[in-house]
């Protein structure tokens, strides 16, 4: 793969403007793999993507995609956040706890409070990572435990739901426009476009990419590295909060397990997405294609082989490993060396 990358760059072509069919295939192979696998699963079991299933699958994919976009914002500045799923779960738990004790008129203020709680978590992560200097992945792993504790407290350590939640709670997660397009997908599309414009076409977005690419160089050039990282943590946590609220709205429950379950698909999707179009660099279209691929793989595998726990763990682990293996081999300098030394 490295030779191909070299060849591409030597000829002066990067993946934004592939000229031959071969180069186009290499740049978009993630999408092609996804379509190919979808075809394969369909041939093996024509019922695997039935039309009822499609909207349900798309809703779940949208929610995972929103959280993945949040993780991607943090990855772009070079911080691997292991607590993004827990942030989503925490935000959902806060909303659930508030709505269990308030009338449904309080839904919108409660949503704001839940999102503010998520942003607070993001700022806490930023404080530990940027101000104190703890490596992001260890610090966020510790925060994940704290968040699990908070969620456990808010949900009484059960699968928490309340009859007081009412219909407004379900609206965003389970509602559809004209009974066809789920609200989740719409929200996901809006967030996608917003993130894409923010990252690719604004000055702050460029600064964020620069911070992730080479932090000391960026700092020396004068880019406010600290502010960019704090911003990325805050936006990432906000998106995770939105995803968590939608997820709990869709399943009409909040629990500690929800936070744990949301972490891995987001990671897989982001890392897969980094192999698409701009190899080695996290990007929004890559995230979208990544979430499609993850969804196709998981649903296809479960539909054909069955969804026991070990299949889930094995498949997710293998996909994860393949994704990072590919990035590590594609990128000229490999994945950034992340060590626990300060």
């Amino acid at each position: 793969m490295r030779k191909v990358e070299n060849a591409l760059s030597k000829q002066g072509h990067d993946c934004k403007k592939p000229e031959t069919v071969g180069q186009w295939i290499l740049c978009h192979f993630l999408l092609l793999v996804g379509l190919g696998l979808a075809l394969l699963f369909y041939v093996l079991n024509p019922n695997v993507f039935s039309s009822f299933g499609i909207t349900s699958i798309l809703s779940t994919a949208s929610i995972q995609g929103i959280i993945a976009l949040g993780l991607m914002m943090e990855l772009t500045t070079g911080n691997f956040d292991l607590s993004i799923g827990a942030t989503a779960g925490f935000s959902a738990a806060v909303l659930g706890a508030i709505m269990a004790n308030a009338s449904p008129n309080w839904y919108i203020p409660a949503v704001f409070i839940a999102l503010a709680a998520a942003v607070l978590v993001g700022l806490l992560n930023a404080f530990i990572t940027v101000r104190i200097g703890v490596p992001a992945f260890v610090g966020t792993m510790a925060i994940r435990s704290l968040l699990s504790g908070a969620i456990s407290f808010l949900t009484n350590n059960t699968i928490f739901y309340s009859n007081n939640w009412g219909e407004t709670y379900k609206l965003l997660g389970q509602g559809k426009i004209r009974n066809v397009i789920p609200y989740c997908c719409l929200i996901f599309l809006v967030i996608c476009v917003a993130c894409y414009i923010f990252l690719e076409h604004t000055k702050t977005g460029r600064y964020i990419y620069a911070t992730g690419a080479n932090r000391s160089a960026a700092k020396n050039v004068g880019i406010p590295v600290v502010r960019m990282q704090v911003l990325s943590f805050a936006i990432g946590a906000l998106l995770a909060g939105i995803g968590g609220i939608l997820h709990s709205s869709r399943n009409f429950q909040t629990s500690v397990q929800m936070g744990i379950d949301l972490q891995l698909p987001a990671q897989i999707c982001c890392l897969l997405g980094a192999t698409y179009k701009t190899p080695g660099k996290y990007n929004v279209p890559g995230c979208v294609v990544g979430i499609l691929l993850t969804t196709i793989i998981t649903n296809g595998v479960y539909g054909t082989i069955g969804s026991s726990i070990y299949i889930k763990s094995l498949v997710e682990g293998l996909v994860f490993m393949t994704a990072i293996g590919i990035i590590a081999t594609i990128r000229q300098e490999g994945l950034p060396k992340v060590k626990f030394d300060i």
Binding site: F80, I128, V130, R131, I132, G133, V134, F137, V138, G139, M141, A142, I143, R144, S145, L146, L147, S148, G149, A150, I151, S152, F153, N157, V226, L264, S308, I309, Y310, I311, K312, S313, L314, V315, E316, G317, L318, F320, M321, I324, G325, A328, T329, G334, L335, P336, K337, V338, K339, F340, D341, I342
Partner: protein, 332 residues
């Protein structure tokens, strides 16, 4: 990295207090927690409870010793739980289905399985080039899946003659020393010797300190990192066998908490005595502290959220202290 340097350097009181308190807090905390739980719940200080805590602590301690080798090279290894699981499950499955009719043989095959996982981690990290924490995260998922597969998702109880199977976990040597403790002393002494008094240990710490300098000096960093990963996985395998022995059975989700626990114990150990460098005595003390706190909270019937929160607080404070200690020692 330099943004936070104003914390300790310009304020002598802060510097001294981080220095003194930060390096001895483990011992202080262990002693005070023992007193605290002893006062709140007198049953805590009974001999068999304390021995039980010691036995449980040995699991985290042995895994932590192995992890200390890897973290000395600067990499984090999240595969402790999966290595423990795969060793225990392989051994139990072999014994249960009578493929192997020898306990010692099955034990060795189990430890071999864990070692293979360590070698695979090293392959992912050194050959493919994935950062170690990602590599071990992903491989731990795959190995967990394999463990579920070979045990069919169930826990295998009483697979073999109980006296032999539970020897390592529940027997008391000379009537007083729990066998896990004996294993810990042997294994811990070996690792301590290797890390502190041999060339291998010095090289591991050197790699952790500055890998590029080691490369330029001609040290084969890849070979030594491979050794570190294999040692870590083997230790975790031993720990897994002992855990299976203690519960007289093995299941695929027995050691899930150890993924974070082993890392936490090693990092907490790094705050003890030395300035932010991971060491074996600190790991052992941290293992005792964590097990003590967990057991004490169970005895006081604390709610689950409190357990999560305390675990998170211990982890975050130890990580912060290690970071501050190291930053300080860089200024010297």
């Amino acid at each position: 990295m330099n943004e936070a340097h104003s914390t300790a350097q310009n304020r002598p009181l802060a510097r001294t207090s981080v220095n003194v308190f930060g390096r001895w807090w483990l011992l202080i905390l262990t002693a005070s927690m023992t007193l605290f739980f002893g006062l709140m719940q007198p049953n805590f200080l009974r001999a068999n409870n304390l021995l039980g805590i010691l036995s449980n602590a040995c699991l985290a301690a042995i895994a932590g010793c192995g992890l200390t080798c890897v973290m000395a090279t600067g990499e984090v290894d999240f595969s402790a739980g999966s290595a423990m699981t795969i060793a225990a499950c392989t051994m139990s499955v072999l014994l249960d289905s009578r493929i192997l009719n020898n306990y010692v043989g099955a034990m060795f095959v189990g430890i071999l399985a864990a070692t293979l996982m360590g070698a695979f981690n090293a392959f992912l990290h050194l050959t493919v080039g994935i950062p170690a924490f990602l590599a071990t995260l992903s491989s731990s998922l795959v190995v967990k899946g394999i463990a579920y597969w070979i045990t069919d998702g169930t826990t295998l109880y009483r697979v073999w003659d109980s006296d032999v199977y539970t020897y390592l976990g529940q027997h008391y040597l000379f009537g007083i020393f729990p066998m896990p403790f004996v294993v810990l002393v042997c294994v811990g002494a070996i690792i301590l010797f290797l890390l502190e008094f041999t060339k291998l240990g010095k090289i591991l710490f050197a790699i952790g300190s500055n890998q590029t300098a080691c490369d330029y000096m001609g040290i084969q960093t890849k070979k030594y990192k491979l050794i570190a990963f294999i040692m870590s996985a083997t230790m975790c395998g031993i720990s897994g066998i002992i855990q299976a022995s203690m519960s007289n059975g093995a299941g695929p989700n027995m050691a899930e908490s150890y993924q974070l626990l082993a890392v936490m114990v090693t990092v907490m150990g790094g705050t003890f005595l030395k300035k932010g460098i991971f060491n074996v005595p600190g790991t052992l003390l941290a293992a005792v502290l964590v097990t003590l706190v967990t057991n004490g909270m169970i005895m006081m019937e604390a709610s689950t959220w409190l357990k999560y929160t305390v675990e998170g607080l211990m982890m975050i404070s130890s990580v912060i202290i290690v970071t501050l200690l190291r930053r300080q020692s860089e200024r010297v």
